[in-house]
Structures are given as C-alpha cells and as structure tokens.
C-alpha cells in the first residue's frame, strides 16, 4: 500500500494522462489476485467460518512442522528403526501419487486418443495431478532426514540399482511435465497469448512423455516394497505388485475425476462454464464405464496373484479378515460401476467413485503401513501429531487448488482462447 501513497503526487500531475505504472499494477493486482474487488472487500470475503477453521488447523500444522525441523523427526512422528516410514509417506507419496494419475489418464484420453468428450475436465485433471505431485514432494521434504539434499539423486550421486532412485527421477521430471502441461491455463490468466501458443504446441510430446514416466513410477512406488518380502504381508506381497499399482492408479485417477467433477459442479458452479456443467452427467457415465473395465482387470490380476503366491492360507488370521474387508470392497466396485452405467444412475457412479477412493486408500495404507512388519509383536501406526500435519498440508493443498480455480481458466475456457482444445 505504501507504493500507492508514494505515487500520489505523480498521480496528481498525470491526472488527465495515461494511467501510471502503479495504476496499471494496482489494476492488475485487483483483477488477477483480488478477483476484481478492492483489497478491503476481498479480505472481507475471506473471513468465513470455514476459512477460520482451516486457518487454525494450518497454523497448528505449521508449528508442528517447525518443531520437526528443530528437534528432529521424533517430535512429530512415530517412525522407528523397525517402521521407518509413517503417515507422511503413506498418505502423501504412496496414496497421493496414484490419485495424481488423473493428469496422465485424462490427458492421454483427450490429447492422444482424441476423446473430445472429456475435454471439459482435462485441465482440472492436469491441475489435480500437478498439485498431487507437488504435495507429494512437500510430504517428502518433511519426511526426509536431510531434505536440503533432495536433488542429490539427480545431480550428485546415482544409486542406479535402487527403485527409489527411479522414483526420485520420475517424480521430479513428471512434476515439471505437469507444470508445463498446465502452463497454458496460467499463461491465459496472465494474457500471454504468444508464449501460450508455444506451451500449447508441446502438449502431445508432454502427454506421451507423461505416460512413459507415469507407467514406471506408479508401478515403482509399489515395486519399492518388493525389497521387503519378510515385512510385507503375503496377502499383499506378490511379484505383480508393480502392475497392480499401475492399474489401480488408473482406477484411482478415474474415481477422483468422477468425484471432483461433481464437487466442482456444486462448489465452483460460478467458475464453471455452462458447457462444463452440462457435460457432467455424460462424462461421469463415460468415466464409470472405464472404471468398471479397469477395476475388473485389477480384480482379476489381484486374485490371480494371490493364488500364484499361494497366499490364500493366510486368510485364517486377523490380518486375513482385514484383508477380506479390502478385497470385498474392491471387488464390488466394478459391478457397481457397471450397474450404474447400465441404468444411467449418475448418482450411483459418483457414490461408487467415493467408495473407490476409500478402497484404494485402504489398499495403499495396508501395504505400506497397517500390515507392514506384520510379524513384529508391537507396532505403532502413527502419532496424532503426524495426522495433524497431514490434515494441515491437505488443507493447504485444497486452498491452493481453490485459489487457482478461482483465477485461472480451469473449469471454463478463457474468453480469449475459446475452443482451441486446451
């Protein structure tokens, strides 16, 4: 605000002339950042009960993160020398990344297979993917012992036999790819038509590159656990783990898009184009069909893999019964989708989408946290502080998402670039 005061005299002189630089900047900030409102009114719109609640949790989470960086990981996590990874990675990396496949799944459908029907949701899918990876890195930075060395696998020392090395490279590369894939929306928001044209021209290459990277690191995230055969429970441990992870990531991405498309149509109605809102039902039916197919494939491979490893004998145990909860939930999903599509029940498909999200979270939690180290007598899953940090970071992610959707052309085309397919 001081800038405005300092320029007051200058403004007097140029009263009738062209707008001064500060006025241009002021108008730009007002239009782009404050949603066209004066600062005071914009700030007023932010004070809602929900925002205040979110603010408190985020503050508490940030305090805990600060403590972690002063006193070490033991201040906030239950991580031990037997169970070195906890909620941060189980949530942010092993569960968060599968859902972030949305960018590559919908991107491939629209830009490579030319399925124009899904064009309205493609930018949203890419944005969700980008944020998912970005926040996976945020969680990784909190969890790494020496996060300031996060670039070491890329530039300093190469552990080429490590699956983690592959994951590090791919997440870094794919984060950049997703940023570039989303950049046309950012550039439209900034009215940079020329640069945007260049960004748009890269779409096909980026999409194919994205498929290559996604295939490998989605599967690699589970392949990391191939190295711990005595610690992963036999009902989850199988040499098919990488491929199960890849297929279920596609299922996760489709479910996320089914649910988020519905949520945006309710909560961001004013930001969505009429075309977007009209196509929700048809898109949901299409995604439901695809989900049904993908989850049938997953179920088949999963059952074959358990038989292949001879692990059915473990059903008769408490972990075996817990496994039944997961597998039964995952098994009914493709049937529910199929029924929903046949009867054109959009609501049922959206409900099944929610169930799928729960099912795939359950699967990743079981693999990496809940049944991990199943042979140890005493296991601590996580500390409440860890959960609070996770909730805080998720709230930040949602706020960032909201900030972007409120400003950039995500759910509607930018008026200057209507119908160019990006």
């Amino acid at each position: 605000m001081n800038e405005y005061a300092g320029d007051y005299i200058e403004k007097q002189i140029h009263r009738q002339d062209e707008p001064s630089n500060s006025e241009i900047i002021g108008k730009w900030v007002k239009d782009k950042i404050f949603l066209g409102l004066p600062l005071k009114e914009y700030l007023k719109t932010l004070i809602t009960p929900l925002n205040i609640f979110a603010g408190i949790i985020v503050f508490a989470g940030l305090v805990l993160i600060l403590l972690r960086f002063i006193f070490g990981l033991e201040m906030v996590t239950e991580a031990s020398n037997e169970q070195p990874w906890g909620l941060f990675l189980t949530w942010g990396l092993f569960s968060g990344v599968p859902f972030s496949a949305s960018g590559f799944v919908i991107g491939t459908a629209v830009y490579i297979f030319g399925l124009k029907k899904y064009q309205p949701i493609v930018r949203n899918a890419i944005l969700l993917g980008f944020l998912g990876y970005l926040f996976a890195v945020v969680f990784l930075m909190i969890d790494l012992g020496r996060p300031w060395r996060i670039y070491y696998p890329m530039f300093i020392s190469f552990g080429t036999a490590s699956v983690m090395f592959l994951v590090a490279w791919h997440v870094a590369l794919y984060l950049s790819v997703q940023f570039l894939e989303f950049s046309p929306s950012i550039l439209a928001w900034l009215n940079q038509g020329k640069i945007r044209k260049i960004a748009v021209s890269m779409t096909l290459g980026l999409t194919i590159f994205g498929v290559m990277l996604s295939t490998l690191h989605q599967s690699a995230l589970s392949a990391m656990f191939l190295l711990a055969p005595g610690k992963v429970h036999p009902l989850w441990y199988t040499s098919y783990l990488p491929w199960l992870a890849f297929i279920s990531a596609i299922g996760a991405a489709l479910a996320l898009m089914i649910v988020v498309t519905k949520l945006t149509a309710v909560f961001f109605k004013h930001r969505a184009s009429p075309h977007y809102l009209e196509s929700v039902d048809e898109i949901t039916l299409g995604l439901g069909t695809a989900s049904s197919f993908v989850l049938f494939t997953y179920l088949g491979l999963r059952l074959i893999s358990i038989t292949h490893e001879g692990a059915w004998k473990y059903l008769d145990s408490s972990i075996g019964q817990w496994f039944l909860v997961e597998i039964i939930l995952l098994a009914i999903l493709p049937f529910l989708y199929y029924y929903g599509v046949q009867k054109r029940k959009v609501g049922l498909i959206q409900f099944t989408g929610m169930l799928t999200i729960i099912g795939i979270f359950l699967n990743r939690f079981n693999l990496t946290l809940i049944t991990f180290n199943w042979q140890l007598p005493h296991r601590e899953l996580f500390f409440w502080r860890e959960a609070l940090v996770v909730v805080a970071v998720v709230i930040i992610e949602v706020l960032v998402y909201r900030w972007i959707v409120n400003r950039m052309p995500v759910l509607a085309d930018h008026p200057d670039f209507v119908g160019d397919g990006h």
Partner: protein, 303 residues
C-alpha cells in the same frame, strides 16, 4: 493443433531422450566381489555374555556414554536391538534359553551381506559394500530417506530421529577404518573367549565347518550366513537351532537386489515402447488426406 512435422520433432526428441535417459535404468549386477573380502564368525557356544564387545564398540566408535554400565546383566531381561539410541553401541548381546535351561548368548549387529538389500535400496549410493568387505555408509551423500531401513531383512540400520540437522544412519561398519589400518575390529579384539573371529570370509567358512566336523554333537550342522540372504559377511555357528536364537527364518537364500532386478529391467522397454505405440496411434488417427493437408498449410502461410 500440432502439425505432423512438429509431432515428428517432438516424438524424435522423446525417443532420443529415452535412449540417453535410460542410462539410469541399469539393473543390479550379479555379485562377483573381492574373493579376499573379510568377514566375522561368531561362535554362540563360546559366548559368555560379558558384553565387553558392546563396550569396545562404544569406545572404538566414540558413541554416546552408556546409560547403564556395560557390565550390567539385567539388560538381558529384554531382547535388545543394536540401535545406538537404545544400547549406545552398534552391537547388542541378547540372552536366550538353550536346551537344559542353560543360557545361550547371541551377539547382534550388521550382517554385512555380500549383496546387501540396503545397498541396492540406496538412491544416492551412500550405502556401499566396500571392497574389503564391510558394508559402509557415506554421510556426505545420505539424504535420510530410510529406504535402507525398510529394506534390511535383519532390522539393523538405525536412524537418528532426534537429530534435525545431521541425522545419521547408525550401524556396525565392522570397524572399517581399523581394518584399513591393519587392526582387527574392536569387538573381536575385546572378546575374552574368542567367540568372535575375524578373517577372510572364505577362511572363516572353512574354520566354521572344521569346528562343526570336529564336534558334531556340540554344533548344529549349519553355518548361518554362508547362504542366507545370498551370503553374509558375518556368520554364526551354534549349538541350538538358529530360530531359537531369534534369527529371522524368512530371509531365504536369494540375494535381495534380485527382487527388484526384474522390475528395473522393464524400464528400458517401457521408455521405448510407449512413444512408439502412442505416437503411432496418434499419427494413424490424425493423418489427413494429402490434398487437404496441403491446402491447410497454404492457408496458414497467408495468415
């Protein structure tokens, strides 16, 4: 929309990248190893549970002062793990009940596998199998991801969860520096009953078998570590079954890096086949009739 020429350019560079970029996908190689690598042999029939190896380890590695004296035998009431934060040493001796109720002691520490899971897990090659034999760790490279801890089937590496600025991976390094200086590891030196023998791994296997052949009634006919987890640098012989001494029974004899090798070998295939398949599909489905294509490019030029 993208013209075909643009597409070929982009596609070409992706293929080029995938060939160059696939360098990082080299899978773990089969272990050849230094035939003269050193190892250790623990004879649990000789160990008297004096804990002098723990004390010597603490001193040699300049670890934090012990919370209770190293002569305190009440620690045997628990089954301890060789975690510095708990035992102030890279090694811990535990007491088990043998046949006819006599106590049997077993010393725990890093097994120094020939093909270690932790080494293949490390994304920055901070964990290494040294040519001398010990599995060592380079603090200058470690990023603190703790995949080595997840991977180790013996639950050995520990992490300094209490340190925010330089958290270390803590485990036995078989006194690597002492070995390079021509000394023997501190624990072997301190042992009053020669329960810990240091030497070339191939010689230790012979010595272990000689002891078993010499007194077949005293020993179980097995050298633990000769084949376990693909072979370990630290081996054990015992008078009671190994599972009774808390040795993990599920490590198998396959070397751990092999478990992810198949997956890593898929990397190149995927990098090459996706661009070909998807690019081919895109070209096939988006190709326009020739005449129309020409007309369009003429139009574009006039713009």
């Amino acid at each position: 929309m993208i013209s075909r020429r643009d597409f070929l350019k982009v596609g070409g560079s992706i293929v080029a990248w995938s060939i160059v970029g696939s360098e990082h996908a080299v899978a773990a190689e089969d272990f050849t190893g230094n035939p003269d690598r050193v190892g250790m042999l623990t004879d649990t029939t000789r160990c008297i549970g004096c804990r002098r190896c723990e004390a010597a380890c603490n001193k040699a590695n300049k670890l934090p002062e012990a919370k209770t004296s190293f002569e305190d035998t009440t620690v045997f009431e628990e089954k301890r793990k060789p975690y510095v934060a708990d035992v102030q040493s890279y090694t811990a001796v535990n007491r088990y009940e043998g046949e006819d109720g006599k106590p049997v002691y077993r010393k725990l520490q890093c097994m120094h596998c020939d093909e270690p899971a932790c080494v293949s897990a490390c994304p920055v090659a901070a964990m290494k199998k040294s040519k001398e034999g010990p599995v060592v760790w380079d603090e200058k490279l470690c990023i603190g991801c703790r995949y080595c801890i997840t991977a180790c089937p013996f639950y050995v590496p520990a992490f300094e969860y209490s340190s925010a600025f330089e958290p270390k991976i803590q485990k036995c390094f078989m006194c690597h520096q002492r070995i390079k200086d021509g000394l023997i590891p501190a624990c072997a030196e301190a042992c009053p009953v020669e329960a810990i023998t240091f030497g070339k791994r191939k010689d230790l296997i012979k010595a272990a078998k000689q002891r078993i052949w010499g007194e077949p009634d005293k020993y179980i006919d097995h050298v633990y570590g000769e084949e376990e987890a693909g072979g370990t640098g630290w081996m054990y012989i015992s008078g009671v079954p190994f599972e009774k001494l808390g040795f993990p029974e599920n490590v198998g004899i396959t070397s751990y890096p092999k478990l992810t090798k198949d997956f890593l070998s898929m990397v190149n295939l995927t990098l090459v086949s996706w661009p070909a398949l998807l690019g081919g599909f895109y070209l096939a489905s988006h190709q326009k009739p020739h005449a129309e294509h020409k007309e369009e490019s003429v139009k574009e030029e006039h713009k």
